[in-house]
C-alpha cells in the first residue's frame, strides 16, 4: 500500500470541539456519559453522552413543508449535518487541503443520519419530499456543496464498523490512485428511534457502561462527530500513517457476534499483513468494547487468537458512549493523539476481568511510546473491521 498520511483531524463531541480539547478531558478522566431525563426520547431516565438540548433543535425542518424549503440554505441543516459541518470545518483549518481539488474526495460515515426527522412524521414512506430530505446522499451532497468539493461524495453506512470502513475506503481509493486526498467524516445523533431500538434488545446499561468488566451489563449511546483527513501527498510525510486494514463477516448471526472471534481475528491478521507488521510490533489496541456481554467476550477471543492478548487495550465507550457511525473515527483519532502524546488512556469502567480470555486492559494512564496501533470494531450484520496506524 502507498504511504498514506494523516493531515489533520477533529473530534466534535460533548467533551469538546477539537481533538485537543477532547484529549485533555480524557486525560483528566472526564466522561461525557451522564444520566438524562428527556421524556421526548425515553419514558425513563437513561445514561448517554449527549449534546446540550439547546443545541439540539431540528425545528426548521420538523415543522417545515419539506418540498418548499431550499435545501442548501445556511441555517437549515439538520443536527446530524451540523455535527459534520462543524467537525469538517475544524479539520480543514490545518493542512492546506483544497476541497475543490479534483484529486480530493469527501467520504461520510453514518448509521442513521437524519432519522430523527422520521420521528416527527411517522407513518408510511409516502412522503417523497421527506424521504429525499432524510436520505443520506442528500446530507452528503449538502455538506459537499458547503465546502465546494469538486467530486460528488461517497457515503458508507455499514452499522458500527462504518467509521473504520470509511477510513479503509479512503485508503483504498488513494492507494488505487483514484484520489490523492480524502476527507473522512462520521457522525450520528441519538434520538428516540435509536434509543428505543437498542432498548428493545435489552442492550442498554442502566448506569455508566463497563467494557470488559465482570459486571458489565450493556452499552451507553453517544452522539458526536469525527473527521480525519488522509493524503498520499509528499508534503504531509512525517504524519502518522494508515498502513493497512480489512473487513470480515461472521456468517453466523445478524444481531449476535461470532462465538469464536475467528472472523475478527481474520480481519486483524489481514490488516497486519497489509501493514507488513507482526503481532510483536503492535503497541496498543483500541478495541470496540461496547460493554455488552457477547461483544466483549468475542473481542477477547479474537485478540487472543491473533496472539495480541498481552498488548495494552482500552475501550473508550465509557467516555463517549457508543457513537455508532462516528465511533470508528472518534476512537481512531484518540488513538492518533495517544501516539502523539505517548500516552495510553485507562479503560474507564473496568475493574475486574469479565471475559474468558483475560486481556491487558489499561487501568491507569500508561506513558509509553507507540509506534504501531490497531483499531477494531464489530457490528450488527456480523461485520468486523480493523485498521493499523504507524508513526
Amino acid at each position: 500500500m502507498k504511504d498514506i498520511f494523516v493531515v489533520s483531524d477533529n473530534i466534535f463531541s460533548p467533551l469538546g470541539a477539537t481533538t485537543a480539547e477532547n484529549f485533555s478531558q480524557l486525560k483528566a478522566g472526564v466522561s461525557a456519559v451522564r444520566r438524562h431525563d428527556r421524556p421526548a426520547m425515553a419514558d425513563e431516565p437513561f445514561y448517554a453522552s449527549l449534546f446540550d438540548p439547546a443545541a439540539d433543535a431540528d425545528e426548521p425542518f420538523v415543522s417545515a413543508p419539506f418540498a418548499s424549503k431550499p435545501l442548501a440554505a445556511d441555517g437549515l441543516y439538520t443536527k446530524f449535518e451540523r455535527l459534520l459541518l462543524t467537525s469538517i470545518s475544524d479539520a480543514l483549518k490545518t493542512g492546506d487541503v483544497d476541497p475543490g481539488d479534483p484529486r480530493t474526495i469527501l467520504i461520510i460515515s453514518t448509521t442513521k443520519g437524519n432519522i430523527s426527522l422520521l420521528e416527527a412524521a411517522p407513518g408510511t414512506p409516502a412522503n417523497p419530499a421527506l424521504n429525499r430530505r432524510m436520505a443520506l446522499h442528500t446530507s452528503a451532497r449538502l455538506i459537499a456543496d458547503h465546502f465546494h468539493f469538486a467530486n460528488p461524495p461517497i457515503v458508507v453506512s455499514n452499522a458500527c464498523i462504518s467509521g473504520i470502513l470509511a477510513l479503509l475506503t479512503a485508503m483504498r481509493l488513494i492507494d488505487a490512485g483514484s484520489y490523492d486526498t480524502a476527507v473522512v467524516a462520521g457522525a450520528d445523533v441519538i434520538s428516540k428511534f435509536v434509543l428505543s431500538g437498542f432498548g428493545s434488545f435489552q442492550a442498554i446499561s442502566p448506569g455508566p457502561c463497563r467494557p470488559f468488566d465482570r459486571s458489565r451489563d450493556g452499552i451507553n449511546l453517544g452522539e458526536g462527530a469525527g473527521t480525519i483527513i488522509l493524503s498520499s501527498c509528499e508534503k504531509y510525510r512525517g504524519g502518522i500513517r494508515f498502513r493497512g486494514g480489512a473487513v470480515s463477516n461472521d456468517a453466523n448471526h445478524i444481531s449476535g457476534p461470532s462465538r469464536t472471534g475467528q472472523e475478527l481475528c481474520q480481519a486483524i491478521n489481514k490488516s497486519l499483513a497489509e501493514a507488513r507488521l507482526t503481532v510483536g510490533e503492535i503497541g496498543f489496541i483500541s478495541a470496540h468494547g461496547t460493554a455488552t456481554l457477547y461483544n466483549d467476550e468475542m473481542e477477547a477471543k479474537a485478540i487472543t487468537l491473533a496472539g495480541l492478548e498481552s498488548v495494552p487495550v482500552n475501550s473508550l465507550k465509557a467516555y463517549y458512549g457508543h457513537t455508532l457511525g462516528a465511533a470508528g473515527l472518534i476512537e481512531s483519532i484518540v488513538t492518533l493523539q495517544s501516539m502523539r502524546e505517548h500516552l495510553v488512556l485507562p479503560s474507564l469502567g473496568f475493574g475486574d476481568n469479565g471475559v474468558s480470555m483475560p486481556l491487558n486492559i489499561c487501568s491507569s494512564l500508561l506513558h509509553t511510546s507507540l509506534d504501531n496501533c490497531l483499531k477494531t470494531a464489530s457490528g450488527f450484520g456480523g461485520c468486523n473491521a480493523a485498521v493499523v496506524m504507524s508513526q
Binding site: 500500500m1 448509521t111 442513521k112 443520519g113 432519522i115 422520521l118 420521528e119 411517522p122 407513518g123 408510511t124 414512506p125 409516502a126 424521504n131 432524510m134 436520505a135 443520506l136 446522499h137 442528500t138 452528503a140 451532497r141 461517497i154 457515503v155 458508507v156 453506512s157 455499514n158 452499522a159 470502513l165 475506503t169 483504498r172 481509493l173 492507494d175 488505487a176 483514484s178 428516540k192 428511534f193 428505543s196 431500538g197 432498548g199 428493545s200 434488545f201 480489512a246 473487513v247 470480515s248 463477516n249 461472521d250 456468517a251 453466523n252 448471526h253 445478524i254 444481531s255 472472523e263 481474520q266 489481514k270 497489509e274 457490528g379 450488527f380 450484520g381 456480523g382 461485520c383
Partner: protein, 212 residues
C-alpha cells in the same frame, strides 16, 4: 483480469439472469412478488420469512445470481467479498420499526434498520466471510462500483465479489447483482463473461429499460 461472470436483475415483477428473463410474476404487491420469487427458487429457508423486504430482495437476487455457474469449492469463505449500494438505506424498514415504538419496540424489526444486514443474511446463507461494504448513492454508481471492486481484487483482498444495487422503498424496488471473479488468463475468459467495467455493469443494469 477480473470479469463479470454472472448477473441477476430483479425489477418490475421480472427476474433476469445473465440478461434473460427467467421468471415473471404479475403479483399485485412487493410482498407477494418477493414470496413468489422465493417459492420459484425451490429452496427451503425458513429464515427468509423473518427478513425485511430489503434483505429478502438482496437474498433472492443472490440466490439466482449464484446459480449461474458460481463454484463455491473454488473459494475459501474469506475470499468472497460483498459490496452493495442503494439510495434509500433501510428507510423502508425504518418506517416499519418506528411504527412499533408506540406499542412495544420490536427488536426483530429494529435489527433490519441497517442496510448492511442484507449482506449478513447473504453471508449466513452462503458462508461467505470476506470483505463487506455498503455504500449510499443517489442513483446507481457503476463507475464507483467497478473501481472499488477492481481494487479489492487487484490488492488481493478478495478473489470474487458479489456487488451491485439493492433498493426498496414501499412498493418501489430494484436489485441488480453482479458476480465478479478474478479470471486466470486474460486471453481465456469464461464463456459469456464480460470484463469488469462501468460500461458493462451499466449495460446489464439497464436491461429492464431495454425491454420496454
Amino acid at each position: 483480469m477480473d470479469h463479470i461472470t454472472a448477473s441477476c436483475i430483479i425489477a418490475d415483477h421480472v427476474v433476469y439472469t445473465n440478461g434473460k428473463a427467467v421468471f415473471e410474476s404479475p403479483s399485485a404487491g412487493i410482498q407477494d412478488f418477493l414470496l413468489s420469487v422465493y417459492q420459484q427458487t425451490g429452496v427451503q429457508y425458513p429464515k427468509f420469512y423473518k427478513m425485511d423486504n430489503g434483505s429478502k430482495l438482496g437474498w433472492l437476487a443472490c440466490e439466482w445470481l449464484l446459480r449461474e455457474g458460481f463454484r463455491p469449492a473454488d473459494y475459501r469463505p474469506e475470499e468472497v467479498a460483498i459490496v452493495l449500494s442503494n439510495a434509500n438505506a433501510s428507510l423502508d424498514t425504518d418506517y416499519k420499526y418506528y411504527a412499533t415504538v408506540k406499542e412495544i419496540p420490536s427488536p426483530a424489526v429494529f435489527v433490519y434498520t441497517l442496510p448492511n444486514i442484507m449482506m449478513g443474511e447473504i453471508s449466513i446463507r452462503h458462508h461467505f466471510k470476506g470483505e463487506n461494504a455498503f455504500f449510499i448513492f443517489e442513483s446507481f454508481n457503476a463507475a464507483f462500483l467497478a473501481q472499488y471492486v477492481h481494487g479489492l481484487i487487484e490488492s488481493g483482498s478478495a478473489r470474487a465479489c458479489i456487488c451491485g444495487w439493492v433498493d426498496v422503498l414501499g412498493e418501489e424496488y430494484k436489485a441488480a447483482l453482479f458476480l465478479v471473479e478474478k479470471t486466470a488468463g486474460a486471453t481465456d475468459p469464461p464463456a459469456g463473461a464480460t470484463p469488469l467495467s462501468a460500461e458493462n455493469i451499466n449495460n446489464l443494469f439497464q436491461i429492464t429499460t431495454r425491454h420496454e
